[in-house]
Symmetry: C2
């Protein structure tokens, strides 16, 4: 079969060649029904303009769009800073959109990006569900996954190794002499930060003959630190824990507040280790021991990788992992 | 003089009528040099298409752009939430841009908004300098000032009364029996949050015969809570203060951390009152007494007002002030 041309696309979609060109060049000028027909035809034929033609057809707008699930989560602040510095260096403007994990909103933004011809999308944190993937593919906008990845789809990504990071956090507690350890984690329906960190916790227990701790888990839905409920449940369930690993610094900060109110001293009675190393973790009382994610670098690197795709440069690593580390501050102690 | 028409604009700019129309309708399709000539002509003639023609010429994109100076500042999180809920209700997409207080970046974004034909701009927190105003006016995009305002220009705004809010915070300390009061404030070059809150502090002292405290001020540049320096300076300068008013919760949180490290008990030895009521102030140790800004409502109302301008609806109040309140938690005490 010969390579499909713009003519073939026009024929299948039953529109003129110039309409196909406009769909690729100025999609907002084509009515939705025609646009859909053209996109479907492109998809069906696997039509791909060659690099030169592509450069002529697609106009670069030097704009990247960031999709974040919850702007209130301070975790994103440093990621965005890294993205911005890289964007500045590479000549892009960055527009940020908050989806609130609302699918309708996400799709509305994707369409908006398409109409505005952003050069690429930085999709952060959330899992990529099949309908998201299909929509992204249909719109033919380059996508970079940031602090998330996909094993099902061939999408490029930048993140840390969450399972190993959680393992290291729990191993740090064990090496400090703790034998009664609990975890406040994210629901296992969250494949990115829920399942992975749970598996790291379990593996650290297993490799150190602490299987009796594996029920010491409280799950929370979402990322809010306004859930002292989780802390209360933890202590009701396992009143004798000497150390708690939380799957985020926000959860750790909520836990510190809860323990302080009940007169339970950290780290004298209970050690607490968080996850993320958000800016705030340096000024909690006591200062938080945590797993440091290289958030700034994740943001920076994700823009570099996305730029490589847009500019059709070489980028050998599809799923890239950046190193984490344990930052020891005052909320943990040796037993 | 008769009302200028699109023909007059074309004549002055020395371009065709269709070029003028394209500048208003699809500016990205017109080269920069021509575009500038048209914009200058529009400006010079004070050309304003009538409402009907405007509807025909300008295509509504249902997109609003938010300009924020520092995405790491948690103050913006709730403002953006309010903006988003109002945008959702009124059918807009919201794109967020972080300028890092970099003028070049701001101008680049403004131009980007113009090319992408956003329906309006939500400009937050920073003062409006003359060159910003001229650029905004030249691009003819409706602008709403959020948590900032302008006395020089006729621009609509939504914020609290900062002077009165600072006054109320300091008055609260005085009414609680404090006579030795300090302030950690923003540099007076900041006309929005610096000067206003300083004036509120001074007025409260003056009305209560505490003029001797008016030198007890340490100024910081920027909003970071990573400046324990300010706290150290405060105590070096006025070791006998019994209460400190900070111009933001971030500053208060940094102060709490500094005092805790030095073994100075809050509120037993020093009372601390913040400003903003960010989400985090509910889980500091001790929980923070603060001035509550209606951040969510400020965001929500600003989108409603901007929509009124875009849709040419009635909105009688140019500079709108929303009510603040003192939220008493555990970081202050009666002497």
């Amino acid at each position: 079969m010969t390579k499909p041309t713009i003519k073939d696309v026009a024929k299948i979609a039953n529109v003129s060649i110039s309409t196909v060109s406009r769909v690729m060049n100025a999609p907002e000028s084509v009515i939705e029904s025609k646009r859909s027909k053209v996109l479907d035809a492109i998809e069906k034929l696997k039509y791909k303009p060659n690099a030169l033609a592509r450069g002529l057809i697609y106009k670069k707008t030097n704009t990247l769009a960031v999709v974040i699930p919850d702007i209130r989560n301070p975790y994103y602040a440093d990621i965005i800073r890294g993205m911005e510095d890289a964007s500045k260096k590479l000549g892009y403007n960055l527009i940020i959109c908050n989806t609130d994990r609302d699918k309708k909103r996400l799709f509305s933004y994707l369409n908006n990006f398409y109409e505005r011809q952003v050069d690429g999308i930085l999709y952060t944190s959330d899992p990529v569900f099949p309908d998201y993937y299909n929509e992204i593919k249909r719109l033919r906008i380059p996508v970079m996954l940031v602090s998330t990845h996909s094993m099902e789809y061939e999408l490029p990504s930048v993140k840390i190794d969450d399972e190993q990071a959680a393992f290291d956090a729990v191993k740090f507690l064990i090496d400090s002499g703790h034998r009664k350890i609990g975890m406040i984690g994210f629901d296992l329906s969250d494949s990115i930060a829920g399942q992975t960190r749970y598996h790291g916790f379990i593996r650290a227990l297993r490799e150190n003959d602490l299987d009796e701790c594996k029920e010491n888990i409280v799950y929370v839905n979402g990322w809010s630190y306004e859930t002292p409920d989780a802390a209360a449940q933890m202590l009701a369930k396992c009143p004798d824990v000497t150390a708690i690993f939380t799957a985020s610094d926000e959860l750790a900060i909520g836990l510190l507040c809860y323990l302080d109110e009940r007169g339970i001293s950290v780290p004298d009675q209970i050690s607490v280790i968080g996850f993320d190393n958000i800016r705030l973790s340096r000024i909690t009382i006591p200062k938080l021991t945590t797993v440091s994610q290289p958030t700034y670098e994740i943001g920076y690197r994700s823009v570099e990788k996305l730029d490589a795709i847009i500019e059709e440069k070489e980028d050998p690593v599809l799923r890239e992992y950046l190193p984490h580390e344990i930052v020891v501050r005052a909320s943990t102690r040796r037993l």
